[in-house]
Symmetry: C2
Subunit: 457 residues, 2 copies
């Protein structure tokens, strides 16, 4: 079937929720970072799992690629339709279908964003903790195995999704997992689809684990004389079992960027931003314990903020860090790296990365979720400067290779997309071949997000 015939067939039941307008195609063919725009042939906006299933059956029969699209906030070009086809936009499947305070879980459609989810949950006293920064969709966060500032306490998407509804390449619909807290029943299909980047099936619904809003929250920021002392503090608090809810690192360059952006005046040195959740006394104890360790490593100025507005100001600084950093070089493209290493190797990984970036001459502030051993350098590249882009890509590749040499991984939370496909063999060896075998078993005609995650034949 030609793409015109597919358009006609899709229109027969989706009506005006199928588009080939230039603006729709462009919006779904671009990305937030440096990848080139490639247009899909069509964009569709299904409103139910049934509609997704019908779309998949048609595309499967016609061998038309299907690329799931959520909020478009991924950083590695995950939604770029490399071979054209149908961009399947889930943004109209954005209902919170059920929130159950008794079982502390929610059932959501894949296109609901995490901010909307948490707004809707506010009255229940529960929240969904995974926080990648961007206001991504829950389905997109599952598909990239997202994590973020609170993962050190609450885990990543891997830990907070109990079950999925998935439409397979041929249109079959399966449900994985259950509402129980655990299960030993068969292969862990939930885990298989989480992080599969839409290459094995389209996630349309998710059962999420919720958490109680903590009785008390305390947060603070403190300045360190150097990178090594900040990282040593992180390692020590983790080993002491101090219950951190967030522990974020900003290097001196990132600090300068957030100062300029937010009109504040933190000292120009490395910082840790921390937060504690629990009972009043537990939070106080944890904050004191953190403060002591930080002071032992030469930190100054740690103060706990328990007022909501003070904490919100603090985390706004962190969440705006990406924009603050990009504002350091107006008009530049950003290449955002993302590696994760064992905590004992964090100081070495950050220090060597910093030295290499300094040598390259590119602006590249470093920041990250250091409680997980996960950090980013935001490399700023002058628009259309191919030499700088080549330098940035080489830096990024060496960061990934360093992560592997240190026992870590090429991506802590951003995923593979287009950007890291070339490093998969190096990280996984024959395991990458196994991923290809699984892909062919579940999507034999290769219509689901082709060109991503597995080796191309």
């Amino acid at each position: 079937m030609s793409i015109d015939a597919v358009f006609a067939e899709l229109t027969s039941f989706l009506g005006d929720r199928v588009s080939r307008s230039k603006s729709d195609l462009e919006q779904h063919g671009g990305s937030e970072t440096h990848f080139p725009t490639i247009l899909p042939d069509l964009v569709v906006w299904p409103e139910s799992t049934d509609e997704v299933s019908r779309i998949l059956r048609i595309c499967h029969k016609s061998r038309i690629p299907v690329i799931a699209f959520g909020a478009g906030t991924s950083l590695e070009g995950h939604t770029t339709p490399l071979n054209g086809g149908v961009s399947l936009d889930l943004s109209r499947m954005n209902r919170l279908k059920m929130a159950d305070p008794g079982d502390m879980l929610a059932v959501v459609e894949a296109g609901l964003t995490r901010e909307d989810l948490n707004s809707e949950l506010r009255a229940t006293g529960l929240f969904f903790p995974v926080d990648p920064g961007a206001n991504a969709t829950i389905g997109g966060m599952a598909s990239t195995r997202a994590s973020g500032t609170t993962t050190v306490r609450y885990g990543s998407m891997r830990d907070n999704v109990l079950g999925l509804t998935v439409v397979l390449a041929d249109g079959r619909v399966i449900k994985t997992g259950s509402r129980a807290a655990k299960s030993a029943s068969g292969y862990d299909l939930t885990a298989l689809f989480i992080g599969a980047e839409g290459t094995l099936g389209i996630i349309t619904e998710l059962t999420l684990r919720l958490h109680g809003t903590p009785e008390a929250i305390s947060a603070g920021v403190c300045a360190f004389p150097d990178l090594a002392s900040a990282v040593a503090t992180v390692q020590q608090v983790i080993q002491m079992g101090v219950p951190m809810a967030r522990i974020e690192f900003l290097d001196a360059d990132s600090t300068r960027a957030v100062n300029d952006y937010a009109g504040i005046s933190l000292p120009l040195c490395p910082h840790l931003l921390v937060e504690f959740h629990g009972s009043d006394s537990a939070v106080e104890e944890a904050a004191e314990c953190f403060g002591e360790i930080a002071r032992d490593f030469g930190a100054s100025g740690y103060e706990s903020a328990t007022r909501t507005e003070d904490r919100n100001r603090l985390w706004k600084i962190r969440h705006n860090a990406f924009y603050a950093v990009t504002a350091l070089r107006p008009g530049a493209n950003a290449l955002v790296t993302d590696i994760c290493v064992p905590i004992s190797k964090l100081a070495q990984a950050v220090e060597e990365t910093r030295a290499e970036i300094a040598e390259s001459g590119l602006p590249g502030p470093i920041l990250g979720h250091v409680g997980d051993g996960n950090f980013h350098a935001i490399l700023l590249i002058e628009k259309d400067n191919d030499a700088e882009m080549a330098t940035a890509k080489a830096l990024a590749e060496r960061m990934s290779q360093r992560a592997l040499a240190l026992g870590g991984t090429i991506t802590g939370e951003h995923g593979i997309g287009i950007g890291k496909l070339g490093l998969m063999q190096e990280e996984h060896g024959d395991g990458w071949t196994v991923m290809g075998e699984i892909k062919r078993a579940l999507d034999p005609t290769g219509i689901l997000n082709p060109g991503k995650l597995v080796r191309q034949n």
Copy 2:
């Protein structure tokens, strides 16, 4: 190649670590529960991943079944060699290869038992928390996605394994995961092999997440007027976010059994056994909070035990509960059920189960890891009494179906094995077909633990 030729080829490099003696075959063909003994053709004791790979290559070429065998403590006949073949006993691969206090992880061979692991870890101040009761091997625990008394706090095997070395059906060796705390790099192969019951590959090595020995531990037991009040207490403490390290339920019949077995005199009513881990003040606060909630629901007699010997006595009671219950009916076979439901459905599930067991006339005490919504009935069947066995199997099947109707799962921690294969379609629908597709992709000749977990063709 005939089995004789395979024997000769295996002997050429394993020497006397290949056996076809009757006692070895019988030891590897039986099970701890009610399943019939079926003998393998050979037993092998490899000592390295390389040897496992050579064994698999030979068996793959000859289409000889290979069944991984750890400590033989599984309860659903997982290691029964339904079609004969090679029982691959990993008990000589029992080294703790590395323990890293800095990164709080260990690398172990699959045949190491959890008690030996924790003995070896003692000096480090770290421990591996997953505790299924039996002294299983770590590889076996991974393969059945084991959990247990501490899962409410520390998670199951799914949450505590960072990476695996796996030998595939054709002898290829892959490494999954990394030493980093998280990753977004490709399909989650670690999660796929955990709970696969040896049907997708043979786990030979594991990287485990360790936890710091808590500064303080407090435990206690309290008696409830009825089942509903005990379960309501569980639900309330979970919702309040009281940090429990263990919360175990014994019904009145189980209490009677442990009284007889341990020579103690708990009142003959339902009990909760609890434990708290943390700082001195955190533990005290949690224990107080638990005590208050329990008293609100009519509990009596809660006292915290912080002395190690008192706690050990308490958990010995719990760990011996299986033997205590089976001693209620000397010489009987045990059919141990295992379902897991959402916490809000726990009271209903336990109450309905208790009523059905009472009606059946079989002894069937109920106990379990109620913080996870997971519980067991231990059905005691007179030896060679086919009518009782049929009654017990029907009860077990109805328990599983009730779990599914309540949004739960047919097994919280024991796995599928032989015992629950007949319920997989009911739980997973087309998801079970997908599991078969994955199985055929990774083990096209079907030599790995044939007859288990996926649909037979």
